[in-house]
């Protein structure tokens, strides 16, 4: 296994599958204090609720102690300490570092100066590989397989890092994609090129109903207001890309709706009680996948 988890494309198909297998074991019995005496540093240079709590829960369930900070405001960063120095110091204290930082590429750099494994918990809009791993786990768990699935991805396909990482990760499993977005938030050319070179079929549409009845997975993302220069454009898009229960009457039985959360109004609350809604369970799966990732990086790949 690689020494760090910085980008989802650092992991091969087999390494992804091994991690998901381990996550399944943790789900069966989440209380596994196999890392008693270990210290995990959770250093968040920008605020995050979901990801940080999920990591810290994972570390605690593994029996490790957690040190760190949730905001760079009251650390030596405000005194002008460089990231390199912070990482050098923390890697002397802890056995593994979980890091979120607003600058893109910061996690890769941290992994190069750290003497212990580094997990990227988000570097700006670049990568958030543990989110991708839990998305894959959720897909595998609900569909029983990762191969040959029909996946609709909806919303902000231009800036959404979860979308880009999911596309890269799923490329190992011959999916077919339908991308649904307004023109302003279309999937960037480099990712369309990536799919073409990997011979993965995809089509693009502006219509939310496109392919809903054939899809195995509908992956919704939040359309952010700040992406639009004209607030009226935002209002228009926001109301068009809102999934509601009436759209799901003829969809496949196994179809599940995923969303990295937080949601605004991309999914109407009337969907929440539908058997197709999976976004809250998806968040729970994050703890098991993060336990698996931490374990593997600390050298435990089998339970």
């Amino acid at each position: 296994m690689p020494k760090h988890l910085i980008s989802i494309h650092d992991y091969s198909r087999e390494e992804i599958l091994d991690t998901l297998k381990l996550a399944k074991e943790f789900e069966k019995n989440p209380s596994r204090p196999i890392f008693k005496g270990k210290v995990i540093a959770s250093i968040f240079f920008e605020p995050s609720t979901r990801t940080r709590l999920s990591f810290e829960t994972a570390a605690n369930r593994l029996g490790a102690r957690v040190i760190g900070f949730s905001d760079a405001g009251n650390t030596s960063v405000t005194k002008g300490e460089s990231l390199k120095d912070t990482i050098k110091m923390v890697s002397n204290y802890a056995d593994l570092i979980v890091m979120r930082h607003p600058l893109e590429g910061s996690a890769r750099y941290a992994s190069e100066v750290s003497s212990v494994p580094v997990i990227n918990a988000g570097d700006g809009a670049n990568q958030h590989p543990t989110q991708t791993m839990l998305d894959l786990y959720s897909i595998l768990k609900t569909q029983g397989k990762l191969e040959n699935l029909k996946i609709n991805i909806v919303g902000d396909l231009k800036y959404g890092r979860t979308v880009h990482s999911l596309i890269q990760a799923m490329s190992h499993f011959s999916p077919s994609f339908t991308f649904i977005s307004p023109d302003e938030l279309r999937l960037p050319q480099e990712y369309r090129d990536f799919l073409t070179t990997h011979s993965i079929t995809f089509n693009e549409s502006k219509n939310l109903n496109q392919g809903v009845n054939e899809a195995d997975i509908i992956y919704m993302t939040r359309v952010q207001k700040e992406r639009f220069s004209d607030p009226i454009d935002y209002e228009r898009v926001k109301n068009v890309y809102s999934l509601n229960r009436s759209m799901l009457t003829s969809c496949k039985e196994n179809m599940k709706i995923l969303h990295p959360l937080p949601r605004v109004n991309e999914i109407d609350t009337d969907v929440d009680n539908s058997e197709h809604a999976y976004y809250f369970n998806q968040a729970e799966n994050g703890v098991y996948t993060r336990m698996a990732i931490i374990s593997a990086l600390l050298g435990v790949t089998e339970l």
Binding site: S7, L83, P102, E104, G105, R108
Partner: protein
């Protein structure tokens, strides 16, 4: 008609020819020529059939490794490298953009770590000619020809 050299010949060393005139100082910077003791002569805005105007740099008693000289391919892709011994051209080299580029180029992503902390840039060359596209090792964003900025070599 007698052919006269605007920049006089050197006995031994390296001649960098067909450099775009506006890139001569960048080439000097990238190769760190402003910090070496060798005799250097150069010309700018000389006539060229190939480029219209060109620059040329002649460095006495100095030879370069391919890996070093290829660093200038980003700013002077058409440059010809002539190795001189006893006033004769003994070897001609053409440039290739290296597969990975360390330093030299600034990442165009304003929130890339390399633009905020003392981290040397590192790129993988996706396309070399005619349109250079470089993938940042850190932020994973692409810097293309139109946004290519050269970092000074001076440490």
């Amino acid at each position: 008609m007698e052919k006269q050299l605007k920049v006089s010949a050197i006995k031994d060393g390296t001649v960098l020819d067909h450099i775009p005139s506006d890139q001569v100082f960048r080439v000097i910077d990238i190769l760190g020529l402003d910090n070496i003791p060798n005799q250097i002569t150069f010309g700018i805005n000389l006539e060229s059939k190939l480029l219209g105007k060109k620059g040329i740099i002649k460095i006495s008693d100095r030879y370069f490794e391919s890996a070093d000289i290829n660093r200038i391919a980003l700013v002077a892709p058409m440059a010809k490298i002539n190795i001189i011994h006893d006033f004769e051209v003994v070897e001609k080299r053409v440039l290739n953009v290296p597969g990975t580029i360390n330093g030299i180029v600034k990442c165009m992503n304003p929130i890339c770590i390399t633009n905020h902390q003392p981290v040397e840039t590192l790129f993988t060359t996706l396309d070399s000619q005619p349109n250079v596209r470089l993938l940042c090792h850190y932020c994973e964003k692409i810097t293309d020809k139109d946004n290519l900025k050269i970092i000074s070599n001076r440490r």
